[in-house]
Symmetry: C2
DNA sequence: CAGCTCATGTGAACGACTTTTACATGAGCC
DNA sequence: GGCTCATGTAAAAGTCGTTCACATGAGCTG
């Protein structure tokens, strides 16, 4: 990982040998500490033990370094969402919620990537490769939404799958961005971001007619369960994610 | 508005007379253009026609200027949310949705404020006045959620009002931050952010047991103003926000 | 009105950062 | 062994943020 970092010039020799990677790693650390805005090209160079001009052999400018990090971030993000989705196993709703949690986990565990991807202010649409990576990640959510849409109970008006995907994305991003970052604008919450998002998604899914958890006591006409899977427990803790209504 | 801006030193005299305000306005413009990260203290000074050192007579440093703008932003934000909420008239659900739209409208129409408030990375909890302003704004959403919670149909499990408020906030912020900014990371959408958020909130409310479908065309009983409302209304466009399910 | 004072603005200076340019080094290939 | 080109360096120009000593003049005091 930290191959050859922190070495003095003498023992390193004139050529670094791995500067591009070292710069990316250094930048990642710096962004995690001080945010994308506070991160400095010169600092990254210093951390890698080279002069301030050296990075320009590997990145056109500071923005390109940031872009590279964002891109790498989208790729890892995609992987984690894919793993969480696990092709909808064991059932669509459970898997869907797991994707939400993976989203938050990524924001929490990879603040530097998340920052570069969503909060650095760099124009996603200016770099085709970056935009493509971003879309590949979003497509995981979208594919999950398609599956979910196909299962939605008839008789309930429902939005296009694309819209559902955007809804989920906005919820996850909203929670992550407002509450799930140790980073800067930390606000105190009476609950964990995970709980918050889980409840939000559950209510949303219920609004789409999905059976979430035990049925309301008196209500006879709960929307009919969905063909093959649908029936079982969706990973909701007993009592629901927010306890009993008082 | 642009009182005395752009004037040459000669016609202005040694003293500006209104520098603090001029700097705030200049900064607002610059942030709207280039984002909080790209905004420069020196640029604001230049725009106000004073030397680079002059701003330090009015703000401890660049961050304090940013803070002032964020604070002012939260105050305007609070006003707009209050107006949109209108104490829950004509009925709670309609007013609630109006608040959501006001949120997006603010993000769209006041990008500089929104940026300073939510995307500049300045620590809200470091400045008590700022934090208080932020909380006052959030309290509008929270109060609306309380009212909504009181109306929620019995028989449906429901979260605490505080949680509902956070849910709404995260949806609005998520949509605003991902899609509603001309600013930077613009992504193309098959629908407007307003539609997106409206549908999202409607589904969420339905998940809480609120009736969100359009009124029956004949609509015999318009709900009485405040106390026993709960039944219908909600300003849903005919056909619902996303068209017919296919 | 003269004179004083203090808030407000100026210019110069420092160190840090970004980026460019001309030059140095040495790893890999013939 | 010698060439060459990718990779690194030093130096310089331009920008910022911030501080400091000094200048200005608006408004009070007498």
């Amino acid at each position: 990982m930290s191959w050859r970092k922190e070495q003095s010039r003498a023992e390193r020799g004139y050529h670094h040998g791995n500067l591009k990677e070292a710069l990316l790693q250094a930048a990642l650390g710096l962004i995690a500490e001080k945010g994308a805005a506070g991160f400095t090209f010169a600092d990254a160079a210093r951390m890698a033990g080279v002069s301030a001009a050296a990075p320009y052999r590997h990145f056109r400018d500071r923005d390109e370094l940031l872009s590279s990090i964002a891109q790498r971030g989208f790729e890892q993000f995609e992987q984690r969402l894919t793993a969480a989705w696990d092709d909808g196993r064991p059932d669509t709703v459970t898997a869907f919620e797991r994707v939400g949690k993976a989203y938050l986990a990524f924001a929490r565990e990879e603040p530097a990537f998340y920052n570069a991807m969503f909060e650095s202010g760099l124009p996603v649409d200016a770099n085709p490769a970056l935009q493509a990576a971003s879309e590949r990640a979003f497509n995981i959510i979208r594919a999950a939404a398609e599956r979910l849409a196909a299962l939605a109970p008839l008789g309930t008006p429902r939005p296009p799958a694309m819209m559902m995907a955007l809804h989920i994305w906005s919820m996850a991003h909203g929670v992550a961005s407002l509450f799930s970052r140790g980073d800067a604008a930390r606000r105190k919450l009476p609950m964990s971001p995970d709980e918050l998002l889980e409840a939000e998604v559950l209510i949303y899914l219920r609004g789409l007619g999905f059976p979430t958890d035990r049925r309301p006591p008196g209500k006879g006409a709960e929307p009919p369960p969905v063909p093959p899977e649908a029936s079982s427990g969706s990973g909701v803790p007993p009592g629901g994610p927010w306890g009993k209504p008082k």
